[in-house]
Symmetry: C2
Subunit: 160 residues, 2 copies
């Protein structure tokens, strides 16, 4: 009986190990794109990264890229002259327009950000957050950077 | 001993069941968006589905959606008057411009399709294939549908 129990326990442990490895592989597999290069702390608070995908060209009047925010990282307040579309591909984060409650975002959510609307987006305090951004151009510009989202603003927005 | 063995076997089975459920959940978790509605076989061969994400509006001069192709499913030959960007989010498939070899596509690949260029895209024979499509408008149109990709054309393209 001891031998049988030990053998079955061994199988059981092996199963658990295999399960853990699968989970890890699946977690890595959730990132569609490489993280890319770190974005300047002039415009992003904490560690955020950009992987450019398509630059504005004769057909596409937008810049396309994937942005990865480490937990707690976020943009500063900003506006887009012709709006921006966010497509959340991984993790949990927030989008907030000035004077409104923050919206919680998760994988599969899409935000159609209006033009000239002061807002920020970024990760939840305890989650990496990745979104694709389609940023429309108006002439040669597609963003106007404003002031940082303070810790007080961020903490107040995400705790509600 | 019998009781102990049965109990351990029960635990083991429970573990396997849980594992199977996890695997299933993880597979589902690889799909960012719901499949959406089946696309017409007038324009798609086999089973393809569209989940619309953002319609053309005053800021976005494109339609945004997620397209899911079952194995072997594909578009018919077509052109876009102002191009289209594909972002592969799941599985394996192909993109082929008329007269050129097909390009194999996998998760994370991006295709910037030029204007007025005859092409098709779709799944590999043994893989589901999911891409986001950003389809630019020229006036009120964004696609011109042509003739089906025959089985001979498809098989010849994907086996190389």
């Amino acid at each position: 009986m001891k031998i049988a129990a030990v053998f079955i326990a061994f199988l059981f442990q092996t199963t658990l190990k295999a399960q853990t490895m699968n989970t890890k592989e699946n977690q890595n597999a959730t990132s569609i794109f490489p993280k890319g290069e770190k974005l300047s702390n002039e415009w992003f608070t904490g560690n955020a990264f950009l992987k450019p995908l398509v630059a504005k060209d004769k057909n596409n009047d937008f810049a396309l890229g994937s942005v990865t925010f480490e937990p707690g990282a976020r943009t500063i307040w900003h506006t887009h002259p012709k709006g921006q579309v966010l497509i959340v591909t991984e993790g949990e984060g927030f989008y907030q327009e000035k004077g409104k409650p923050a919206q919680a975002l998760k994988r599969g959510d899409v935000v159609n950000i209006p033009e000239n609307t002061k807002h920020w987006h970024g990760a939840a305090p305890n989650s990496t957050f990745v979104h694709i951004a389609i940023t429309n151009y108006k002439g040669s510009g597609n963003v106007l950077w404003l002031k940082p989202v303070t810790d007080e603003e961020y903490n107040g927005a995400v705790k509600k």
